[in-house]
């Protein structure tokens, strides 16, 4: 019994003065865990949304087929649906009894929901339309003659995309990327429904802030809020500067 009472987990947060070094380290980790988890989730979700968004926008901007409008509407709809609707929809698909949830149980013997993977899926779904919309507009505005010139100079289709289309569309793609990342970082409703609020496992910053405020812990909430604010501010400032430098040639004044 005496041993039990001395275990760090039992007295954590009660007797600060008796905590040893490794325990203190663990405390800090607990405090920052939502931040790192949020970053991991947002980065992965943005990457997924970015790749899928650009590939689909590229295909859809040059091919037309029956039912294209309907599919495009489905791509865009997460933008206007309430996050709880998306969350519930995702539960139907990746939940215990959903088709993807069942497949995961069969092949990996584990469920998708209430893992940080589910948080990535939820964030990617809500971020996707922002990438798609911006990428489509950006790709469509690329001068087709420059792509054709590349073809006559010996470039294959994939080379044309990476050496001409992508760099020319970059300003628009970057705008989509920033918006998608911001949306993924702030995702709350759908994430709560599919990933829950498990500290250290699925508790992202928006969850941590919400539940800290609900528990009356304004100090933690304020700390996390400040971190998010500073991080977002510097990220957007930095990205803007970077892409401004990259697009200088678009605005260079002609001499004639």
């Amino acid at each position: 019994m005496k041993d039990m009472a001395l275990k760090p987990s039992a007295c954590k947060g009660v007797k600060f003065n008796t905590l040893t070094r490794p325990e203190l380290h663990e405390m800090e980790n607990d405090f920052l865990a939502p931040l790192f988890l949020s970053l991991r989730v947002a980065v992965l979700a943005t990457a997924l949304a970015f790749i899928f968004g650009i590939v689909l926008a590229w295909l859809f901007s040059r091919k037309s087929f029956w039912g294209k409008e309907i599919i495009e509407t489905i791509f865009t709809i997460p933008l206007v649906l309430p996050p709880t609707v998306i969350g519930f929809g995702l539960l139907l698909i990746i939940g215990k009894h959903g088709p993807l949830g069942k497949l995961s149980e069969i092949f990996f013997q584990r469920q998708i929901i209430f893992t940080w993977g589910a948080a990535v899926i939820a964030a990617a779904v809500v971020a996707f339309p922002l990438v798609y919309q911006n990428a489509k507009a950006a790709l469509e505005s690329v001068d087709a003659n420059q792509e054709r010139a590349a073809r006559t100079l010996g470039a294959k289709e994939t080379e044309v995309f990476f050496t001409v289309t992508f760099p020319l569309a970059w300003p628009g793609l970057a705008a989509g990327l920033i918006l998608a990342f911001a949306r993924a970082l702030g995702e709350f409703g759908a994430t709560l429904m599919v990933a829950g609020n498990i500290p250290g496992k699925t508790q992202t910053i928006p969850m941590a802030i919400y539940f800290a405020v609900e528990a009356g812990d304004h100090k933690t909430a304020l700390f996390l809020t400040l971190i998010v604010f500073i991080f977002s501010f510097s990220l957007i400032l930095g990205l803007n500067q970077w892409s401004k430098r990259k697009v200088k040639y678009f605005t260079a004044k002609g001499r004639n």
């Binding site: 003659n145 010139a149 470039a155 050496t163 040639y249």
Partner: protein, 233 residues
């Protein structure tokens, strides 16, 4: 030697073209805008696909409806000067010119590429502009960069779509001479599209677009060197 005869259905009429251009010849396609001149160039370059016919350059079959051959543009070795020059706006003049050497099926050594670049920069008098972006160049300079970019890949044929349209009158006279000079240097078939009467004199051969309202779609293709347009149906 460029040999071509083909048919391409356009929304308003069916385009029929038949011509051949030798190494020492410039062919001028003349006609009003909307008469399908650019479409002919695009069919030659592989940017559009004709319905019937055959296109051969230097003995290599580029397109054959019968044999179902349709080489993609990157395999055709056909240089194309677009009407607006279509320079890559995110690349400098130098990078524009080197693009074809980097991305084509070109296994030349670095030194060789550099020598080619220098030679072309000097020939077109654009050495001092090599670090400029297209947005910083004047119309005439852009055209010279576009010519250098197309010629550096050593194409079998050079197509020019309204090469002088974007320039003012004084420059046009000068560049007309320049095109003749380049053609004499390169000795490859040139096909030039224009709607200016005065540019016709550039050509060793001239084909004038003509609307042939009386002829039905199924009428035999004319074998004379002219393009004729027939109304559908």
């Amino acid at each position: 030697m460029l040999q071509a005869f083909f048919q391409k259905k356009l929304p308003e009429f069916t385009l029929k073209a038949e011509f051949s251009v030798a190494e020492n010849e410039i062919l001028v396609l003349a006609g009003p805008s909307g008469s399908g001149k650019t479409t002919i160039l695009e069919c030659l370059a592989g940017l559009q696909k004709p319905e019937a016919g055959k296109i051969k350059a230097n003995g290599k079959v580029l397109f054959s409806a019968v044999k179902k051959i349709n080489l993609p543009p990157w395999q055709r070795q056909i240089g194309y000067i677009f009407q607006d020059y279509a320079l890559f706006q995110h690349l400098t003049a130098k990078e524009n010119i080197l693009y074809g050497l980097k991305h084509g099926a070109n296994n030349q050594k670095k030194a060789e590429k550099k020598a080619k670049l220098m030679k072309l920069l000097a020939l077109f008098e654009i050495t001092h502009l090599q670090e400029s972006y297209p947005a910083q160049l004047s119309g005439g300079e852009r055209q010279r960069v576009a010519l250098a970019r197309a010629l550096v890949t050593e194409p079998a044929v050079l197509l020019l779509d309204e090469p002088l349209a974007a320039l003012d009158r004084k420059l046009r006279v000068k560049l007309r001479e320049e095109i003749k000079k380049i053609h004499a240097l390169w000795q490859i078939p040139f096909v030039l599209v224009t709607h200016y009467r005065c540019e016709i004199e550039l050509g060793d051969k001239v084909i004038t677009a003509r609307k042939d309202r009386g002829v039905k779609f199924n009428a035999p293709i004319r074998l004379t060197e002219e393009i004729c347009f027939t109304e559908n149906g």
